[in-house]
């Protein structure tokens, strides 16, 4: 019985080794660590609208949680795959309209509210754009995690290509940069289509204060 056990353990061991080796030649992401998984599982409880499903990572989150690999030469193929998954998830505006109302867009850009466990399910979620970006120069309280968006349209014009790029970037920034710090606003339904149209106007409408 004992010998049987050792034998079967050996078989399992070899099998595990082979599968790890095969996997690593394909993705070589950091190894799955049962101890870490248990710590995360035991470390959180659901509260209000913030359920435990929020720590169930999708492929993008898993990949980007290992920045050493994600930024490596070896990670290049996987980066491209992640970007494609995210690009494929983007929907162009259902009414064909890309540009909404910049005034509403400014309000969305200002608000950093929503989606925390102290918010209700119907708390309007803001874009939180000023948290990380300079946008209208008149707002001096802006963050620096993202690039400045002052004069966004004025500097870049309003070609169809730029419009679609900007739409895509707000909808799902990971389509261009697998591990961009920017939330995927449409992917997780943080913002709806109309809100994104309004943010588009803030950046691209020649009448928007951003482009003065």
């Amino acid at each position: 019985m004992k010998i049987m056990n050792i034998k079967s353990l050996l078989v399992i061991g070899v099998f595990a080794l082979v599968s790890v080796a095969t996997q690593s030649s394909v993705i070589a992401q950091q190894a799955n660590d049962p101890k870490f998984n248990k710590m995360m599982k035991d470390g959180f409880r659901a509260e209000g609208i913030a359920g435990l499903d929020r720590i169930q990572q999708d492929e993008t989150q898993k990949f980007c949680s290992d920045p050493v690999f994600a930024g490596s030469v070896k990670g290049q193929a996987m980066r491209e795959k992640i970007q494609k998954i995210n690009m494929d998830s983007i929907k162009q505006p259902s009414d064909g309209k890309y540009i909404g109302d910049w005034k509403k867009g400014e309000a969305i850009a200002q608000s950093g509210r929503g989606a925390t466990w102290t918010d209700k399910a119907d708390t309007p979620i803001g874009g939180g754009c000023y948290n990380c970006h300079q946008i209208d120069k008149k707002e001096i309280s802006y963050g620096t995690i993202g690039p400045t968006l002052w004069n966004y349209g004025k500097l870049r014009g309003n070609s169809q290509e730029l419009i679609v790029y900007t739409w895509n970037r707000i909808n799902n920034s990971k389509a261009y940069n697998a591990c961009s710090n920017m939330p995927r606003f449409a992917h997780f339904k943080l913002l709806n289509e109309q809100q994104i149209q309004d943010l588009m106007a803030l950046l691209l409408d020649p009448a928007s204060p951003v482009n003065q």
């Binding site: 870490f36 959180f44 509260e47 990572q57 949680s65 802006y142 939330p183």
Partner: protein, 270 residues
């Protein structure tokens, strides 16, 4: 009373100067906050918590009606001075790596017979947590000025550090955030709030070294556990369980990175 009034007045002036500074530039507002900190540095309201904490430390309480004076925070039973500067650490009696708050829970259980689950379940700033906050203020004040000196010599300490590092980079939630989203690069801000890069010694010392702190915006003394809890709230994560290994691992990661920095607790924060 006098101090409260002065604090209120200073706050008012600060608020006014911040709204005025919308005419000026962002950097100026940051400077104003720095000036304000300097102004009330001699009167950190944490002192009120600290005094209450010392009282709680020395007054018999709990089912066993005992004090915490024999509590071993890592430097031997009853030694408080300098203890917080070397936490988290491995404790033989529990066979665990513990941060200050989880260790205090052990002392409350062993010496006073208090139920640790009640502490875990209590909301911040209420009931047993209120006692915890005061005791933490007392303990960390007795390390003020010491060098941060956290060890990873014990295998469990080393393991906790590695787990904490991995947790620091763990992305999740509807905004894909991890701790590193905000605290992984130098010189970044959210709105006007400077963000320390906790992956470097300098940044970690700025973060770890100044918490627990009195938070002016909420008028409350916040322990490190509460600070981490609010980070996860803003990350849009579920609720981190008080004193869970996850929270201790993150503290271990920050504290070890901060080694050599100075303990400035209790800090004074926005």
């Amino acid at each position: 009373m006098q101090r409260k009034f002065t604090l209120g007045l200073t706050l008012g002036i600060l608020a006014a100067s911040i709204s005025l500074s919308s005419l000026v530039f962002a950097q100026t507002a940051t400077d104003e906050i720095a000036k304000y900190r300097e102004m009330i540095a001699d009167g950190n309201p944490s002192e009120l918590y600290e005094v209450a904490g010392e009282d709680l430390w020395k007054t018999p309480a709990g089912p066993k009606n005992a004090t915490l004076e024999k509590c071993d925070l890592g430097l031997g039973p009853g030694v408080v001075k300098g203890a917080a500067a070397q936490l988290p650490r491995y404790f033989k009696d529990t066979n665990k790596v513990q941060d200050l708050e989880s260790r205090l829970m052990t002392c409350m259980q062993k010496l006073q017979g208090r139920n640790p689950q009640e502490m875990v379940d209590a909301p911040f700033q209420k009931g047993p947590k209120k006692d915890m906050e005061a005791i933490v203020a007392y303990v960390v004040t007795l390390s003020k000025g010491d060098k941060i000196k956290v060890s990873t010599n014990h295998p469990k300490e080393k393991e906790m550090y590695e787990l904490g590092k991995r947790a620091f980079y763990f992305q999740g939630g509807p905004m894909d955030f991890s701790c590193a989203s905000c605290h992984g690069e130098d010189g970044k801000r959210i709105r006007l709030q400077d963000l320390p890069n906790l992956t470097t010694q300098k940044g970690a010392a700025l973060g770890w070294g100044y918490w627990p702190a009195y938070r002016v915006s909420s008028g409350q003394f916040w322990t490190m556990q509460q600070r981490l809890n609010d980070c996860y709230r803003q990350q849009r994560f579920p609720f981190p369980i008080y004193a869970s290994d996850l929270t201790i691992a993150l503290s271990m990661y920050m504290a070890k990175n901060a080694n050599g920095g100075t303990v400035e607790t209790p800090g004074l924060k926005r």
